[in-house]
């Protein structure tokens, strides 16, 4: 029996570690280095880059000297992931900050309730007509897309499982997801030029254009949600003597409803900010127009932003920011609704 030496290097479980709070120490040093760069006249961007680089190199290097390779790699990769996260998030926060900071001063009861009818110079105008237009046009798009989209998804998942027609539809839906939005606008414009007359721009046309963009999103998200309903449950319903259509309407859809509603609301918030198709199909109008079927253009918030910006006056630019903030709040409210509805309808598993 040979005596085994248990104290050799391989079996040691502990090693030297960096002092607690080492990352803060390195962080402070990196900030100091960045500050030094700023003082030396490198500009704010250069200073931030130098600070981040100093941290990304310094912290792993220290770990390499005191601890070991694995720990150093861990710290390097962790640092890189955080940096990537920061790069992704900063523009978003910046955007929100800019929209709120520049738009908030424009928002007033007048801005929300006036239209731009015969507003000249510095007179007070508003986006009431555009806000109503957006709600009407998006509402029409939703009314067209939701039934078509959900029924298509039901066909694809429940009836067409893998047959040729279903494969062709899935392919076309994927293609539709990728069409540039202005093409949808041109399609609607051309369609109503043929049906109604040349140069027809009206609210319903805008709704049709948006629904072309919305249907594929609704189909896709509903499909995913229906796929999540286990086949076990369908079989359980069939075994109780429930016909297929009742199984779908009474069991599958209620089980998936939370996800479907979330998907639909997100699809709405996705198209509510579309500009190009509305520019083409729904047009400009400084006046309030609440009839989507009347052969006259209907203003929408994105087009309002576009028009105000192209006026290139100080007032126009600030109105554009105001419009942006209104649109932003609209989308945020829709997303909140989607979340709330999603939690309300989620299948209950509690005891």
């Amino acid at each position: 029996m040979s005596n085994i030496d248990l104290s050799n290097e391989e079996t040691t479980l502990s090693h030297a570690t960096l002092p607690r709070g080492a990352q803060w120490l390195v962080g402070v040093a990196a900030i100091a280095l960045g500050g030094l760069a700023l003082v030396l006249g490198m500009g704010i961007v250069g200073a931030v880059v130098i600070g981040v680089l100093a941290f990304l190199i310094g912290y792993p290097l220290w770990a390499l000297l005191v601890e070991n390779r694995r720990s150093a790699t861990d710290k390097l990769i962790t640092g890189l992931v955080w940096t990537a996260f920061g790069i992704a998030v900063i523009p978003l926060i910046w955007l929100v900050y800019m929209v709120v900071a520049r738009g908030a001063s424009v928002i007033s009861p007048e801005f929300l309730t006036y239209s731009m009818r015969s507003v000249t110079g510095d007179e007070q105008g508003g986006l009431y007509h555009a806000l109503m237009g957006t709600l009407i046009v998006t509402g029409i798009a939703a009314l067209i897309s939701i039934p078509i989209g959900i029924m298509t998804a039901i066909y694809l998942i429940e009836y067409g499982k893998g047959n040729r027609l279903a494969k062709a539809i899935t392919f076309l839906v994927d293609v539709m997801t990728g069409i540039p939005s202005i093409v949808a606008g041109l399609f609607a414009f051309a369609l109503f030029t043929l049906l109604v007359g040349p140069g027809t721009r009206f609210g319903f046309g805008g709704g049709v254009a948006l629904s072309l963009l919305m249907i594929p999103t609704v189909v896709r998200s509903t499909e995913e949600m229906l796929k999540l309903v286990p086949d076990d449950l369908r079989e359980a319903a069939y075994a109780l003597g429930v016909p297929k259509w009742r199984t779908i309407t009474r069991m599958v859809l209620p089980t998936a409803i939370g996800g479907i509603v979330t998907g639909v609301v997100l699809a709405i918030s996705r198209v509510i900010g579309e500009t190009a198709p509305l520019l083409v199909a729904s047009g400009f109008n400084p006046n309030m127009n609440s009839n989507a079927f009347d052969d006259s253009p209907m203003m929408t918030v994105p087009v309002f932003i576009f028009t105000q910006l192209s006026e290139a006056t100080a007032k126009g630019v600030s109105y554009a920011w105001g419009g942006a903030l209104v649109l932003f709040v609209l989308v945020m409210v829709l997303n909140l609704i989607a979340r709330i509805v999603g939690t309300i309808f989620a299948p209950k598993t509690g005891r």
């Binding site: 499982k161 893998g162 286990p230 086949d231 076990d232 449950l233 369908r234 079989e235 359980a236 319903a237 069939y238 075994a239 109780l240 003597g241 429930v242 016909p243 009742r246 199984t247 009474r250 069991m251 209620p254 089980t255 299948p347 209950k348 598993t349 509690g350 005891r351």
Partner: protein
């Protein structure tokens, strides 16, 4: 109701899964199917209430009669067959959006049958008592069915199946996802249900087949890739003491291969 099967072969598209099964299942008895995995016993069970048709391309040749009626006759509605022949699955599958109460009534609810509250209450109580679950859940009927334990969920599924008052109950490995105590509870339940229903059960557990069944069918494959077939169908006592076929004896005594 008795079940008569004559020369039934089951196909998935071009693939023949089960070949030439003939048997006669006695009313108000428990019949167990045993055999190795992939030998077609579950497939065969699912043809008894036309559930295998859920898979595209599946069809049956031969004759399957329940109480003298050919369930594959030209004018037979599979939905009507399934109302008479209920099924309990391998994994408990209560409807996640429904409470315990609604799960038991699912057969009525999903078919939009209007029933009086008092009648509904009595159906629920009777079905849950029948499934030996009433005492455990009577105070929380409004709670979600998914909140029960696995064994309770499976008994809830049995309650759901008997609430629509079928004549035959098919069980596809109903205990394979359960612990021994829940399994014992379900086996006791099968004994009690026998007085009202014709029960056909697929199981991988030979002791279970010996404990609960009156008749046993042994399914096997001739070779990998070949269709499964019924090797022997006899009273359980005989199957487990002196089976007719040497293959059955080899399988039951564990000398299989």
């Amino acid at each position: 109701m008795s079940i008569q099967v004559k020369d039934a072969s089951i196909f998935y598209g071009d693939f023949k899964a089960v070949e030439d099964v003939s048997m006669s299942i006695k009313p108000k008895s428990v019949t167990a199917f045993i055999g190795p995995s992939g030998c077609g016993k579950s497939t065969f069970l699912r043809t008894l209430n036309r559930m295998h048709e859920v898979i595209p391309g599946a069809y049956v040749e031969g004759k399957i009669q329940i109480a003298g009626q050919d369930i594959y006759g030209p004018n037979v509605d599979p939905v009507a067959v399934r109302r008479k022949v209920g099924m309990v699955f391998q994994r408990p599958n209560p409807f996640p959006t429904m409470s315990i109460y609604d799960n038991v009534l699912a057969g009525n609810k999903l078919n939009s049958k209007r029933i009086k509250k008092s009648e509904a209450d009595s159906i629920v109580e009777k079905a849950l008592r029948g499934a030996n679950l009433w005492n455990e859940v009577k105070d929380r009927l409004g709670k979600p069915g998914m909140g029960l334990s696995g064994g309770q969920q499976q008994r809830l599924c049995i309650a759901r199946a008997i609430a629509v008052q079928p004549e035959v109950l098919l069980m596809d490995e109903p205990c394979s996802a359960l612990d021994p105590i829940s399994t014992a509870a379900i086996e006791d339940l099968i004994h009690e249900l026998k007085s009202d229903y014709t029960i056909v059960i697929v199981t991988h557990n030979m002791q279970q087949a010996a404990r609960v069944s009156d008749d046993t069918g042994f399914f096997n494959l001739k070779a990998a890739g070949q269709p499964g077939h019924l090797v022997e169908f006899n009273p359980t006592k005989q199957m487990f003491t002196k089976p007719d076929n040497p293959d059955t004896e080899a399988y039951i005594s564990g000398r299989f291969g």
